[in-house]
């Protein structure tokens, strides 16, 4: 094929999903001439699975992306159908926002933002080859299937599930991206293998979309949104006051009988699907087989948009054949007469081994080549977007010759995510959970800007406007913290304390003391005044900080302690294979991953504390 120069760029982003969008924006917004290559302009920021953003731990990630100057939070706020705060009863550390999104509008809004971003050019086309210099040491461009060459210094590969994607339902299988979109099947995987990547195959799935007019909602439990929560982004005013409900329903024995009777037709059990699927997001046939004693499985009916009747059936993803799907969906209460508009399917795709990456998400073997999102073995829009931002911003920082942005595990969930990917790797699609974080009491979703906005500012991604909002929040926080120290005279506090069942105070108590005794800050404010001009969000943060003070301090102490190991650097030329005290598995893992410090080494699976002890002794030799 005739090749031609499509254009000269600083950077090319392959893919326009949630990772690609953030990567492209991070590059363009920091001044780099960027091209975004996508198979189909109509699939930009497409929500291929749930029409929702956030959820436990993921909600935190969205807020962190926002605090760093990313777009996901703003876009999600703009397309909200409903928003809720999860885990209200389980503590501030694990509360998360989850928003239902208008899928089409989410895409439209993001596309609009991208189209109007200076320095960014969007091109429809399939990347088939990443071009490097002769020694295969650094990136020089990207070639499209049409023979166009986009010359550049940095490439972010964010191909999602499109790379050699194939869609499966029952005996039917075909090469395809999600939702009938074309897959990237023209040699990019082979090119990645040539570049030295270890390519693997993962699998995920999605449930059916059904016609809302054929659902009997009267039979179902309704779940409304909340109007008095804050939005995802610090830049958004407030959440919509008119929200669309979701509905709850359950599978039953009849559903399970149909599934069991047709297991032999499942590609999962028949061997047609070879990719590794996630444990936490099993298909309904998986749930029925693995938890056979469970009489029912919960399903969520989520609206796909404001201008469509399509309803997403969360909890019922499957790769069973269409005739079986039709029968089993109709066994569910409320869905007896349902009409399926899009059938469920499983999708297999190629991804790389994230252990081949630096914490900047740059590929260890080729300078300027970054990967982000599902290609790195993760799942989820939020995980993808976070990586896109980190990859894009680091590509930008590298081109500027500045220090990379490496978030640590105590900076945020994004730090946890990336450290896990490049240190532990993953053998199944990786999803963020609060339990993956050691310091979740610190990594709350009410304070991501306090943790990250200065870093985002330093890296050049936080706009003046956003920085102003942040500085005002800091100002309010400081004022409120001072106010918390103000004491209340014993006599004045007496009545309030007694109302809550406490004895008369002997000495003056600070407002923070009162909070620690379990009295709500709102009540204290009402009783004693103060906290004028402090937003409700800041009051929440101040209240949580006071209430959890001891635990927070302990968390910070632990972070300090952990830092000591992080500071013990491992020489890059260390020959692990020759350290006899290390177990064989540890030697191999260390040799492959080549951790930067002892802290990172300790988190590698297969490296035990005893191995770390050996390394410590080795280092002191």
């Amino acid at each position: 094929m005739t090749t031609f120069i499509e254009g000269q760029f600083d950077a090319v982003v392959i893919g326009a999903g949630h990772a690609g969008c953030e990567a492209a924006l991070a590059l363009a917004r920091t001044g780099f001439n960027t091209a975004m290559l996508t198979l189909n302009l109509d699939s930009i920021a497409f929500m291929a699975c749930n029409p929702s953003i956030g959820g436990t731990a993921k909600g935190q990630i969205v807020r962190e992306i926002d605090a760093l100057g990313g777009e996901m939070g703003i876009n999600a706020d703009g397309a909200l159908l409903q928003i809720r705060m999860l885990n209200r009863g389980k503590g501030a550390a694990v509360q998360s926002l989850r928003g239902q999104e208008d899928k089409n509008y989410y895409h439209t809004l993001m596309k609009k933002t991208l189209e109007n971003t200076p320095n960014l050019k969007i091109v429809q086309g399939e990347a088939v080859e990443i071009l490097t210099d002769e020694k295969c040491e650094k990136v020089t461009g990207v070639k499209t299937a049409f023979g166009g060459i986009l010359e550049c210094k940095s490439v972010v590969v964010a191909t999602g599930v499109y790379l050699n994607g194939s869609v499966i339902a029952g005996e039917w299988k075909q090469n395809s991206g999600p939702n009938g979109f074309q897959s990237a099947a023209n040699g990019l995987t082979e090119n990645l293998v040539d570049l030295g990547f270890n390519v693997r195959r993962f699998k995920t799935g999605t449930p059916a979309r059904i016609d809302g007019r054929t659902i009997d909602f009267n039979k179902l439990e309704i779940q409304d949104g909340e109007r008095d929560v804050y939005p995802f982004s610090f830049m958004s005013e407030r959440v919509p006051q008119k929200q669309t409900p979701c509905y709850l329903t359950y599978t039953n024995e009849k559903t399970h009988d149909i599934i069991r009777a047709n297991l032999h037709r499942s590609p999962l059990y028949g061997g047609l699907i070879k990719g590794t699927g996630p444990r936490y997001c099993p298909s309904i046939e998986d749930k029925v087989v693995r938890f056979s004693d469970k009489e029912r499985h919960q399903l969520f009916l989520e609206p796909e948009g404001a201008d469509t009747n399509e309803i997403y059936v969360q909890g019922m993803s499957t790769s069973l054949p269409h005739d079986v799907q039709k029968a089993m969906y109709r066994t569910v209460k409320g869905l007896e007469n349902c009409e399926i508009m899009r059938y469920a399917y499983a999708i297999e795709y190629d991804c790389i081994d994230s252990l081949d990456l630096y914490p900047t998400l740059e590929y260890k073997k080729i300078k300027g080549l970054y990967t982000a999102g599902q290609i790195n073995g993760t799942s989820g829009y939020e995980e993808a977007a976070a990586q896109g931002l980190v990859a894009g911003l680091n590509a930008s920082l590298a081109m500027r010759g500045e220090e990379p942005l490496i978030l640590s595990r105590d900076d945020g969930y994004i730090g946890v995510l990336i450290d896990d990917l490049v240190t532990k790797g993953t053998n199944e699609p990786y999803r963020m959970m609060t339990s993956r974080a050691e310091y979740r009491i610190v990594l709350r979703q009410d304070n991501p800007d306090f943790r990250l906005t200065e870093k985002g500012r330093k890296a050049g991604l936080v706009s003046d406007e956003r920085y102003k909002v942040y500085l005002d929040r800091v100002r309010q926080y400081n004022l409120a913290t001072e106010e918390m120290k103000r004491t209340v005279k014993p006599k004045e506090a007496e009545e309030l304390l007694q109302k809550h069942g406490y004895a008369k105070p002997q000495t003056a108590l600070s407002k923070a003391d009162l909070v620690r005794r379990g009295i709500a800050l709102a009540e204290i404010k009402q009783e004693f005044g103060g906290f004028e001009e402090i937003s409700k969000e800041i009051l929440d943060t101040v209240e949580i900080d006071a209430k959890y003070e001891g635990y927070l301090q302990k968390g910070l102490d632990q972070i300090e302690k952990a830092k000591r190991l992080e500071e013990k650097m491992l020489p890059p030329d260390i020959d692990y294979m020759k350290i006899n005290g290390l177990r064989i598995e540890a030697r191999q893992k260390l040799d492959k991953i080549r951790p930067q410090n002892l802290g990172q080494a300790g988190r590698i699976s297969g490296v035990s504390p005893a191995d770390i002890a050996v390394l410590m002794v080795y280092l002191t030799k």
Partner: protein, 445 residues
């Protein structure tokens, strides 16, 4: 990895029947070749591993007749090639042989270097290494057993099992928090409670066994008090003389003046005597000196000695200061006086030896060890004790806060408890712990 030959005297440096000089490294056998002449036909170079050969050890300026044994790495203590010379005991002989070894190219081993190499070569786990130090350092049979407990990693296995139990609870809570809308059963606080209670029960019993373990390891401290001239020293000498298994006149640790040690039922008893300090001056003040708070506080048993022929108000004063302690009152000098006293537990004569065996039996009964099966397993490492105490505290705090705090906070206390246990099992080894362990190794092992 090239490894220098290191050498040290592996046995105590004192007059003894047999002593061992150990060499470990890449080529200890080549050193042996130059300083050992076997009696048999097999030359040193052809020594079969793990077999003792008799012959002449050529030391620095003299020869000794002894044994040589070759351990081939990795099947050796350090995991490297090791050669041991078994020679006659005595400072001059052992030093002479070591000197020769060093002159042939080996380097003097630093503190704990053999064990460190064993650890580096994957021959020992951390807990094993600690247990080993205890075994080496313990001077009585029971002490060695308590060390062995660790060495066998039994403790590690127990702690691992406890950690697994806690992991289950944590997993349940985390699951509840991470998947709030999955129609899972909510965390059953009852189940959490039950698990924590069962774990705490085991931790408590381990913590309790520490008192015994520590006593087994360090010995029982007996503080002898009494006004001057009641015969404390002669009583002590009599006790030491009476038992032939005496280690006498051992210059004590810096902590206290150990006048003597005896072994009772396999347990070491250390006697501290602060008597005879008083000469003159203000009485009350001197009593304070006499019954120094340190001795009173640190002793497991207080032996109060009175002179049967001379019981005075001064004795009353001393008695009133010690009567709340774990006290044994002995009235001495039954050879002189047969006077009775209400406070006396036993009447003895240091001079005639009367009732000394009875006094020993009573001393043993006064310890926490009385009635304890000393063949059991006991925790004896201070570090492990502290870790268990911390785990106990955290888990108890978690247990008591169930229902009053949110799950995220509950999980923190439980996780802290888990981490504390990890300090023993090694599932969370910190640099501090490792440094501490290695600084405690003694040369020669």
């Amino acid at each position: 990895m090239a490894s220098e030959n290191i050498a040290a005297i592996s046995t105590a440096l004192s007059a003894s029947g047999v002593a061992v000089i150990r060499v470990s490294g890449d080529s200890p056998l080549s050193i042996a070749q130059k300083m050992f002449t076997p009696v048999g036909k097999t030359g040193v170079a052809d020594f079969e591993p793990y077999k003792m050969y008799v012959g002449e050890i050529h030391a620095d300026g003299f020869n000794d007749f002894g044994l040589c044994v070759y351990f081939k790495g990795p099947k050796s203590f350090t995991g490297e090639d090791v050669v041991e010379f078994h020679c006659h005991g005595g400072i001059a002989i052992t030093r002479g042989i070591l000197k020769k070894v060093l002159s042939l190219g080996a380097r003097m081993a630093t503190n704990g270097e053999f064990t460190k190499r064993a650890f580096m070569n994957g021959k020992l786990s951390l807990a094993s290494a600690e247990g080993l130090i205890d075994m080496i350092n313990s001077e009585s049979e029971s002490g060695a057993r308590a060390g062995y407990y660790l060495y066998r990693e039994k403790l590690t296995a127990e702690i691992n099992a406890l950690q697994d139990q806690i992991t289950d609870v944590l997993a349940q809570i985390d699951c509840d928090m991470d998947f709030p809308e999955e129609d899972l059963e909510e965390t059953s606080t009852k189940a959490v409670e039950q698990t924590l209670e069962s774990v705490l029960e085991k931790i408590s019993s381990l913590v309790k066994s520490y008192r015994t373990g520590r006593t087994l390891k360090n010995g029982v401290k007996v503080g002898i008090v009494g006004k001057p001239n009641t015969g404390k020293s002669s009583l002590l000498n009599a006790l030491l003389d009476y038992d032939k298994a005496i280690v006498s006149d051992v210059a004590g640790t810096t902590r206290d003046i150990v006048e003597g040690r005896i072994d009772l039922n396999g347990v070491r008893f250390n006697f501290s005597d602060t008597a005879g300090i008083r000469e003159s001056g203000d009485k009350v003040e001197e009593l304070g000196v006499l019954l120094s708070k340190k001795v009173l506080d640190e002793s497991d048993v207080i032996l109060f000695v009175m002179d049967g022929g001379n019981i005075t108000a001064e004795d009353d004063q001393i008695y009133s200061m010690v009567k709340d302690k774990n006290l044994l009152v002995a009235v001495n000098k039954t050879d002189v006086s047969k006077v009775k006293d209400d406070r006396a537990d036993i009447y003895v004569s240091a001079k005639s030896g009367e009732n000394l065996q009875g006094l020993k039996d009573m001393l043993f009964e006064k310890t926490a060890l009385s009635g304890v099966d000393l063949n059991g397993d006991f925790l004896c490492e201070e570090r492990h004790y502290q870790a268990l105490k911390k785990a106990e505290e955290k888990l108890r705090s978690a247990l008591s806060s169930i229902g009053t705090v949110t799950l995220d906070i509950l999980a923190i206390d439980i996780k802290d408890g888990w981490d504390a246990l990890g300090e023993i099992s090694g599932r969370t080894a910190t640099e501090d712990i490792i440094n501490d362990i290695f600084s405690k190794f003694c040369v020669g092992k």
